[in-house]
């Protein structure tokens, strides 16, 4: 189940990243919002990974190279604008992907039909913050711009076809770019112009090639379970 692993890992890894904001968000409302988004993603990950095998073994006992998430979701949180840029790129992609999967008859249709409604709120949250930061102060505009630039080179991978997802990746990409362009224009921000890929010729997250922050994130995420197998509370 290549696709279940890919989509499940996207949700799991981003969920963990957003969970890292607990206790650190700029305001209480955002702390709650990011944790709620993380919870939705964790629920999706549990359903998807359970299609592949034991969810706990998959989450806690795989090595870095066995994860199939896109590199975008494993990037460090950075400042709040940095996280919002990652959220904007990913939630827009995930909503469009799930909309398409929900219309199909594949094994992901029931989950996609359910999760797309949750993801619509994630995307709405990211868009509102993009508008507020982009069209806010000179400082917030600059930070949002930097966040968008920093993540841009990880966006090409989102549209690499995933085996087992009956989706027209080309039109998915076009719809994504149209929506991102429209939000950024309204936020008085420019669409980044740099390359859409990293320098890796061997592939990227979907092939198990990950970036440096991911190993550190996994170490933290898996440490407890590996040190105390079967720990429960």
């Amino acid at each position: 189940m290549t696709a279940a692993l890919a989509l499940g890992d996207d949700a799991l890894v981003l969920s963990h990243r957003l969970g890292e904001w607990a206790g650190h968000a700029p305001v209480l409302e955002e702390e709650v919002a990011l944790a709620n988004i993380a919870l939705d993603l964790l629920g999706q990950a549990r359903v998807l990974l359970s299609l592949v095998g034991d969810e706990d073994e998959l989450a806690y006992l795989r090595e870095e190279r066995a994860f199939r998430n896109v590199q975008l979701v494993e990037q460090s949180n950075g400042d709040f604008a940095h996280t919002i840029a990652r959220q904007l790129y990913f939630s827009t992609y995930q909503e469009l992907l799930y909309e398409r999967l929900a219309r199909g008859t594949g094994p992901f249709a029931p989950l996609a039909a359910k999760a797309v409604k949750e993801v619509a709120y994630h995307r709405d949250h990211a868009e509102h913050w993009t508008l507020r930061l982009g069209d806010g102060t000179a400082e917030s505009h600059e930070r949002m711009r930097r966040g968008l630039e920093a993540h841009w080179r990880f966006t090409g991978e989102l549209f690499e076809p995933v085996e087992g997802c009956e989706v027209e990746w080309h039109t998915l990409h076009d719809a994504w770019l149209t929506r991102i362009t429209s939000v950024l224009e309204r936020a008085t921000l420019a669409v980044p112009e740099g390359p859409r890929r990293t320098g890796w010729a061997a592939g990227a997250g979907r092939q198990g090639i990950h970036t440096e922050p991911f190993g550190r994130m996994l170490a933290e995420m898996q440490h407890l379970h590996r040190s105390h197998p079967g720990a429960a509370w």
């Binding site: 709650v32 944790a35 709620n36 939705d40 029931p110 039909a113 359910k114 949750e118 709120y121």
Partner: protein, 186 residues
């Protein structure tokens, strides 16, 4: 409580008598019991009023299968709902209870009953607007006025799209200045 009727007491060992809807009176009674379990996070509404009960089947004497749908995919209350359902059915003579989660068709806030909405509002949580009026797919963020559950004013503003649970948004009333939760449309 299982209510015995004069003719045939509906005990778990009674022969099922299918009704027009394909369920037996005993199944209907057990479904009613399971549905009366309060929601763990919104205890003012029952699981039936929340619209998350999808069905109940008697598989054999003392063996029951229950279908439950989550409000949100990651709803952490789901496990506690399943345990509570098992308990109430155990208490009514069903030793073997299996609770399954079904995702399709997805739950929507339209599944919350009128009584459920009334109880939410009574407890200070603004109920969701009907989604029927909006587009069929996805939550279209329509700017419908959300009424303050405390003073009834429609002059309310959104503070955060996410509140104490994934299913609620946080709002504030401009008239009475009280913050309140709004069960957001899904």
């Amino acid at each position: 409580m299982v209510t015995p009727t004069p003719s045939a007491a509906p005990t778990p060992s009674a022969a099922p008598t299918p009704s027009a809807s394909g369920t037996t009176p005993l199944e209907e009674e057990l479904l009613r019991l399971a549905g009366s379990v309060p929601d763990p996070e919104l205890p003012m509404v029952s699981l039936a009023e929340l619209g998350v009960m999808r069905g109940l089947r008697l598989l054999g004497p003392g063996r029951v299968e229950v279908e439950l749908t989550p409000t949100y995919t990651g709803c952490p209350a789901l496990e506690s709902m399943a345990t509570d359902i098992e308990q109430v059915l155990h208490d009514h003579g069903i030793p073997e209870v299996a609770v399954h989660t079904v995702l399709s068709p997805p739950w929507t806030t339209d599944a919350i009953s009128a009584e459920g909405r009334r109880k939410l509002a009574e407890s200070g949580i603004a109920p969701p607007a009907p989604r029927g009026a909006t587009a069929a797919d996805g939550p279209v963020p329509v700017a419908l006025a959300v009424r303050c559950p405390h003073c009834g004013s429609t002059e309310t503003e959104l503070l955060s799209r996410f509140s104490s649970t994934a299913c609620k948004a946080l709002r504030r009333c401009a008239a009475c200045r009280e913050p309140f939760d709004h069960f957001k449309e899904l």
